[in-house]
């Protein structure tokens, strides 16, 4: 999917405008303080208003420039999600979710190996030497980090709820 930069600016402006409205609306739930003249609601509202104005400028000027660009070759960029990116996002979320259950060492070994596989070019999957190095690093790095923090720095990394 090809999307021009100006179109992306329009989307970004709309998202930031909605975010500014959200910040302004939620400020009504902040208790009103009387300890000072401005109070605890003033700055968030002020920021939300400024953000709203600027995101409006970003959106409107991008729409204007887009109209002008329709007859010209505007700068375009390929967008859309791809498998490597999706898998990296999924790996990061799973790493956070599982680290508290299985602990640092096991989760980090699994994450490191999976993340390396995601980043490796496909032709390297059949290269036994590279795969062995990847596996060795995936095991050694978390074990070494855990050893250093546990034995030398006396800092406990998450051990996992299942092993407690």
């Amino acid at each position: 999917m090809i999307v021009s930069e100006k179109k992306k600016n329009v989307y970004a402006g709309i998202v930031l405008l909605l975010f500014a409205i959200f910040i302004y609306v939620v400020s009504f739930w902040i208790p009103e303080s009387k300890s000072d003249i401005l109070g605890s609601r003033f700055f968030p509202r002020c920021t939300a208003i400024l953000m709203g104005i600027l995101s409006g400028i970003l959106t409107l000027s991008s729409i204007e420039f887009r109209k002008r660009e329709e007859t010209e070759d505007g700068f375009t960029q390929q967008t859309g999600l791809n498998h490597s990116l999706l898998l990296t996002c999924l790996a990061l979320i799973l790493y956070y979710l599982i680290i508290l259950q299985l602990g640092f060492v096991i989760t980090s070994i699994a994450y490191l190996f999976c993340q390396c596989l995601i980043l490796l070019p496909k032709e390297d999957y059949r290269n036994r030497k590279k795969m062995m190095i990847t596996l060795a690093i995936s095991v050694l790095v978390p074990v070494a980090i855990n050893f250093i923090f546990w034995k030398i720095f006396m800092i406990a990394l998450p051990v996992g709820n299942l092993f407690m």
Binding site: T88, Y111, I118
Partner: protein, 504 residues
Amino acid sequence: MELLHGFQTIFAFDTLFLIFTGVVGGLIIGALPGLSAFTALAIMLPFTFGMEAVNGISFLMAVYVGGCSGGLISAILLGIPGTPSSIATCFDGYPMAKKGEAKKALGAAILFSFIGGLIGAVVLSFAGPHIAKVALKFNSYDYFAIILFSLTTVSALSEGSIVKGLLSCLLGITFGFVGTDSLSSYYRYTFGINKLANGFNLVPVLIGLFAVSQIMLAAREKASSSKVIGISDIIQKEVKGFGFSFKEFLSYLKTAIPSAIIGLLIGILPGLGGNVSNLLAYSYAKKTSKHPEDFGTGVVEGVVASETANNATVGGALIILLTLGIPGDNATSMIMAGFQLHDVTPGPLLFKTSGVLVYAILAAFIVANIVFFLVEYYGLSLFVKMLSIPSTLLLPIVIVCCFVGSYCANNNSLDILIMVLFGFLGYVLKRNKFPLAPLVVGFILAPSLETYLRRSLMKTEGSFLPVLQSPIAAVFLLITVFAVGFTVYGEIKKVHETGKGKMI
């Protein structure tokens, strides 16, 4: 004379060994993205329990110096700031590495870090008490104006359009609201999550924005080019010495000296540390350069400005800590904890009551700067060897270190989630060409900006006029107006000249 006594005190084998170990430990930890000088100090602090005050505090000083300087390695080689103080080093250091000039960038960064640190050390030793007296006269109006100036200049001068720079800054300020309001003690934007009462921790926010987003970009590049682009694939040019001539060195001094002054002044101001000074010095260098358009593409001056300023800031931060007892940033607050561990109270009376200790600490600070320079310079080839590690292996390892760094900052699992979420945000912002530096600066300075303005208006009973009557505040507010006005004028002129939109 007192400083000579200080050197005499620390010239013992155990003290010198501890300084060396502290610098090396700080360098290693600071070089790892996600583990900052603060984390290095947090890890090393327990080791000082059993030490004498002179040894313990000298060791912490060495860790601080090493931790602040280690960040330049990952900033240049990976494009990820190892510490908040080296954000601006990435802007030109990483493009230089991508052009095959990693060794030159590292050489310049090491030399000017040393020069910045040494200038900071000299000023700290000889002019510290006098400079602190001036800072003591600053009131809340002045602090408000200085912070506003920092925020607007960083937004206006960052890469890309001013609208996106300001929006990024406002986004950072908004994230700074999360937590307890310092004046009223009411919770804001915590949505019932008690762990957010102290707001977002800087470490996971920073790691997420810079490091996690980096691996996502790497994954995307792999898909579009079928090969991960890393500097390990680029042939690096061989260099002699630091990679530049004596004539070039003299020309870089024109950038280094003002940057050192910026670093010192920012370090003296509480709340503003190396994370602000490197960005301000970079902005200054860019603005005063004959070729500002080259900044961000890999120019040595960018690296020089950032590294001189952040190391000079250490000296400035220590001035305010030793003479006023105020920690300038989170790293100096750890050193303050070290003082308290040894029953030493930093403040105006420290020079009178513990003169021997103070000058020993100052001597340790100077020696630590020399040790860091030698270790980093002679270990340069070892650090450059990091380039041979494929990014497909290095980036996942960095992410594991980032998880450890985020978790260790507060022993809080929520910080890991915050890091991941800010990683997604950083990726989206980078893809949409929003600069990240204003967001980080906005996030760091938002609480101070708000507190100082509200305190000022409490003093003046709501009138803004006395704020403008304060000379320091008036000067900074005027400079802010001129800086923004000048940038907006430049953008409008550019749009008119090209005929079609470049403003957005």
